[in-house]
Amino acid sequence: MKCQFCEKPATFHITELTEPVGPQVMHLCEEHAKGFLNKEASPPMTAIASALAKQLGQSGDVLEELDQKECPVCGISFFEFRNSGRLGCPYDYTHFESDLRPLLVNVHDKTEHVGKKPTRSAGTADSLAKMIGLRREMEEAIEREDYERASEIRDEIKAMEDPIAPPSTPSDTQS
């Protein structure tokens, strides 16, 4: 594959997030990739890439250990996140908190949310994580064709689900 800007072979494949088009893969030669990554206006994705590159600079053992770290809820490994740039579930922000912090600083320069908050908070973080875990267990049960177990788990999830708010009295949902 050739570089998008010249005739040299493309050795760098950079995913750039563009709105509204969505992620676009750039195929670049080394020289153009350097120019692209060093642009001062690093788009968010390159900021992730460079924050992760810093982590890559850590000693091999530390990185290897980090890469193998897995979220107990959704099962994503840090390695998978590093490769895809996408997290697996809300609980990742808790489980990988210290690993994500440098990245958040690099991208946003801040680590604390300021602004709008949801007005209701039904369910604790634990019970929500449990539900995500159950969904995964259900999927695994289906995969090993244990449909009885899968249907038990489905019922368990149903019982935990946030009921549809009665439309006429939206204030009832503010529990």
Binding site: G22, A41, P44, I48, T111, I132
Partner: protein, 363 residues
């Protein structure tokens, strides 16, 4: 909510946000604000099973249907999975859905209203992408509407939220407010006078991203640029809106105005010549690509805003920007067209409309 939409009908009109009105509409095409939200009790899309995606889509649909606000009465809810490629492409061209969701697999949907002022994508990169678009530079009203939709959905959907990191998103670049405010600008004079690099550079220091639009694989741009906030965490919605709407966009608008004045003063004849040639090509060509069409339409739009030509109306030009894109053209033609055929039909469509005739008489 209507569980369908008439795509032939849709192709015939441009959305309200494309009507070319509103503040600064000689330069600002549109204001768009989107919020990224996720359901608290599901994994993010990347780790979703097919069953999870289906449950998310069903849950969101059922909860939207439970809303009684008039906002949702006129909304269309379209299941994207069984939709034809052309119809999905049509929604992309209207910016109701992203290319990413159009081309992905599995259960996914979009809710949008009849005037297409807003859309809610279900199972995009995040479970929900709520967006509102308005014509011209209109941050305040756009935000008020998207915020209201978010409030309504929040009453029936439990969002993933962290006390420290805010609204949780699949990609850490969107976490916090989940807000992206984008202003689409038409900057032909800055392009002609080769000042875009300077604009890009001056924006780099202030947490704003400037992007060329329609630049898919070709160097061609059409002179449209999108300015949006780069960060989402640690700044309030109000601050992010002010950054783009009060600080950055007005500054670029001013640069573009100055460049237009300079062109009028120093190169009026050259510019008028270019605009007239663009008109000439689009009025007489027998086959034309969408890239070339955009390029010339951009020149004509500039000629109109600068008072060099009086006809056609800018509304006609905006409509042509939309309807000469592939999916629109094919819907209007009523059948799929190969590339060569598309180029020929596009030329015919342009000729017809630039002569002041309407869709009804085009064939």
């Amino acid at each position: 909510m209507k569980r369908d939409a008439d795509f032939d009908e849709l192709a015939r009109y441009s959305g309200e946000w494309m009507r070319g009105e509103g503040p600064e509409s000689d330069i600002v095409i549109s204001t768009r604000i989107r919020l990224a939200r996720n359901l608290a009790d599901f994994p993010f899309i990347r780790r979703c099973s097919d069953e999870d995606r289906l449950s998310i889509e069903r849950t969101v649909r059922a909860r939207m249907e439970s809303l009684t606000d008039s906002h949702w009465k006129s909304a269309h809810y379209v299941d994207l999975e069984p939709l034809s490629e052309i119809d999905r492409q049509l929604l992309v061209e209207r910016q109701l859905i992203s290319r990413e969701i159009a081309e992905s697999d599995g259960s996914r949907a979009v809710a949008f209203d009849a005037t297409e002022g807003y859309s809610v994508m279900v199972n995009e990169e995040d479970h929900l992408r709520i967006q509102v678009m308005k014509s011209g530079l209109d941050i305040k009203n756009t935000w008020e509407q998207v915020n209201r939709i978010d409030d309504m959905l929040e009453e029936v959907i439990l969002y993933a939220f962290h006390p420290r990191y805010g609204y949780l998103t699949a990609c850490p670049t969107n976490v916090g407010t989940g807000l992206r405010v984008s202003v689409m600008l038409h900057l032909p004079a800055l392009v002609i006078t080769e000042q875009m690099d300077r604009v890009f550079r001056s924006m780099q220091r202030i947490n704003v991203t400037v992007r060329g639009l329609y630049g898919e694989g070709s160097q061609y741009t059409g002179d449209f640029y999108q300015v949006s906030n780069q960060v989402t965490l640690g700044h309030s919605e109000a601050d992010l809106l002010a950054l783009v709407g009060d600080e950055v966009a007005p500054r670029i608008i001013e640069y573009e105005r100055k460049a237009r004045q300079a062109l009028l003063k120093n190169n009026r004849d050259d510019l008028h010549d270019e605009v007239s040639r663009a008109m000439g090509i689009l009025s007489t060509a027998r086959k034309i690509s969408s890239e070339e069409t955009m390029h010339h339409l951009s020149k004509i739009r500039l000629g109109i805003s600068m008072g060099l030509i009086e006809q056609p109306d800018v509304k006609v030009i905006n409509q042509l920007f939309l309807q000469t894109q592939s999916a629109h053209l094919q819907k209007l033609q009523g059948r799929a067209l190969g590339t060569a055929e598309r180029h020929a039909r596009r030329a015919s469509f342009l000729q017809h409309h630039l002569a002041g005739k309407d869709d009804a008489t085009w064939n």
